[in-house]
């Protein structure tokens, strides 16, 4: 009986400890935005020997490899910072930060996130971001300020740091098809002539969403009308033309439009296996890169539509409860440096266009960017710039995401 009593007592102790922890709930005094007051030299010094957990979309292994390889190695070498990349979709880590903010968690696990567009807006509105870090970074001077004032129509105010430029392009195999469609009207003819050979990732996938927006510009008379703040009446007046266009395409799509690839990676797979004839990507040098590493046949080429190619900037940002703020800021600055931007721009690595303005760079760097070989499948930079059209307010993005499902999946 003695044994039993002691054993019984022992069982309760861990439980009591647990309950005490829940009730007590002593919070740690987290990092306030004190770092924003300090000079950058001090931030850089504090970052030495620290670590960064970088949460980002992990669906492209070339990007992953560039981050895990070049970026992580450079950070280690130059600042002794250990970088860990964690693959997680933006919507998911925003939810995670929301939950942490609600639970009063002042020190989280995420130091840096890849973010833009409607996710940035949501994060900033709910107070999930650290603060106006961009202005503290020396390398920001190479970026034209007017380009980073608004992100999908929402003021940035320095809460996120630019690190790459994207432009929406299409890809096709010139050995399979003699000429690609040159406009959205052309596309309609093309899918009729080649049924089952075209599809787009299902929104809310980022690329699929962008395709729908491109179709919106084409079907409703251009992007200019959507500039400025979100106007619900405007989109409601125009959306029927968009849905009519997409529904015209629908029966000639892959799977007769009854099913769509879950995400961009699935579409990539269909294109690589030869199941569809046209691919689309936010990275204009994607085709070049895949030709270089052997995944695409050498005959693949990039093209854009007459109605323009949507261009936007992607950013990194610090969450409100980042545990290693100085290191995160140094990392963001490094990503913005000419060396990193040049390496990123190389189609052998990632091929992501630079946000730096060559005019603002020293001559040596201007030359190096100018001499960069964009690969066999890429469009010349001038052609891309000429075709560039801007993004619109993220309110439209959300609206279209919701409505697409209702219109096209029923």
């Amino acid at each position: 009986m003695r044994v039993k009593n002691r054993k019984q007592l022992a069982k309760w102790i861990p439980l009591l400890v647990l309950l005490a922890a829940v009730v007590g709930g002593c919070g740690q005094s987290g990092d306030t935005t004190a770092w924003l007051e300090k000079p950058y030299a001090e931030i850089e010094a504090a970052a030495e020997g620290s670590e960064v957990s970088f949460y980002m979309w992990g669906g492209d292994e070339r990007i992953n490899f560039w981050i895990d390889g070049y970026v992580a190695e450079s950070l280690k070498e130059n600042y002794n910072i250990s970088l860990t990349r964690v693959p997680m979709d933006a919507a998911v880590f925003i939810n995670k930060l929301l939950a942490e903010k609600e639970a009063g968690r002042s020190e989280g696990v995420i130091d840096l996130v890849w973010i833009n567009g409607e996710n940035f807006k949501r994060a900033k509105e709910k107070g999930l971001l650290y603060g106006a870090v961009a202005e503290k970074l020396p390398n920001l001077e190479f970026v034209p300020p007017e380009e980073i004032e608004y992100d999908f129509g929402y003021p940035v105010e320095g809460y996120e740091v630019p690190y790459g430029k994207a432009q929406f392009v299409f890809e096709y195999d010139s050995a399979e098809f003699e000429a690609p469609p040159r406009s959205f009207a052309d596309l309609e003819q093309w899918v009729r002539a080649h049924p089952g050979q075209f599809t787009y990732p299902q929104p809310p996938d980022f690329t699929g969403s962008a395709f729908v927006r491109q179709a919106l510009y084409a079907a409703t008379g251009g992007y200019e009308q959507y500039q400025g703040a979100y106007d619900e009446a405007l989109i409601k007046a125009n959306e029927d033309e968009l849905w009519a266009y997409l529904k015209t395409l629908q029966p000639y799509l892959w799977q007769q439009g009854r099913d769509y690839p879950q995400d961009k990676a699935r579409l990539d797979l269909l294109f690589e296996r030869g199941e569809v004839g046209i691919n689309m990507d936010y990275n204009p040098l994607d085709a070049s890169g895949k030709v270089l590493n052997g995944r695409y046949p050498e005959t693949v080429r990039t093209f854009v539509m007459e109605e323009g190619a949507i261009s936007n900037i992607h950013y990194v940002a610090l969450p409100f409860n980042a545990p290693h703020v100085p290191a995160a800021m140094v990392t963001a600055n490094f990503l913005l440096s000419p060396e990193a931007q040049l390496s990123k721009n190389n189609p052998e690595n990632w091929g992501d266009l630079t946000v730096l303005d060559p005019q603002r760079l020293p001559q040596e760097w201007q030359n190096r960017f100018g001499q960069l070989d964009l690969g066999p499948a890429a469009l010349p930079v001038e052609e891309l710039s000429a075709a560039a059209v801007p993004e619109i307010d993220s309110g439209y993005v959300e609206y279209l995401k919701k409505r697409w499902e209702e219109e096209l999946l029923q």
Partner: protein, 288 residues
Amino acid sequence: MQRTRNTGLAHLLPLLIPFGLFFLWGIGYTLYGAFSGASTAGGPTLQHFRHIFMDPLLRTSVLHSLMIAFTSASIAVAGGTLLALGLWTLPRRVQPLALIYKLPIILPHLTAAFIVMILLSRSGILASAAYQLGLIADTAAFPDLLYSNSKLGLVAAYVWKEAPFAALLVISVLTKLNFDYVHTARMLGAGRWFTFRSVVYPHIAPVLDTSFIILFLYTLGAFDIPYVLGGSSPRMLSITVYNLYFRRDLAVRPQALALLTLLFAFSLVFVVIFFRITRRMRGREAAV
């Protein structure tokens, strides 16, 4: 050694933490969230359940999941039984060769989905084989296994992963059956089917039922395979819940919890049936 009731109950205390704390709290959170109103002032509400019944996409998701789960579990149990019977009646010398059937058990569900995708997609390996054999002319002619409405791909992945598991369960019961019964029946001239029906089946029936319940409930709520393989619509319940809970606004979370509550209530019924069967099974074993 005294084996009193109280000592026995004391033995159960270690499970208080995992079961009592995490499991009950977890279920409680789900139930609480499912019935809580949009405003904290309001009392319990059924609005989220109403929303589920009214939203066609959510409705189809539930029905679709039920159908896939039922189909997969049935085929897995049937296939697993065939597998088990084959293993049981193999000549002893070849039996070690047959151990490869355990491969799907070791691999996680994620990889089962991946394998099914590369084998069965329209531009997959099987399609290539069909082309080489002259059966089809291009990718479009290969049957729509992964994306057609019957979602054969999901079922194939689940069956591939679950049939060996069912076989394992059936084998463990088969080995308790004296093979001489079969031997005698066959020697007396009974056909294969008759032998199965009257000698083997009554012995394994309970384990078939319990395996079915285990697999049915698992497939209904499983996340891994649809996450890797799932088509765009209709979606499996777990993906619908995942999207509602993690990828949308906080305001729609109660809907996800309401769906989970329905899942919980439904599963509870089957859990009760499961334990009724095992109790009978245990009773029968004790009697023998």
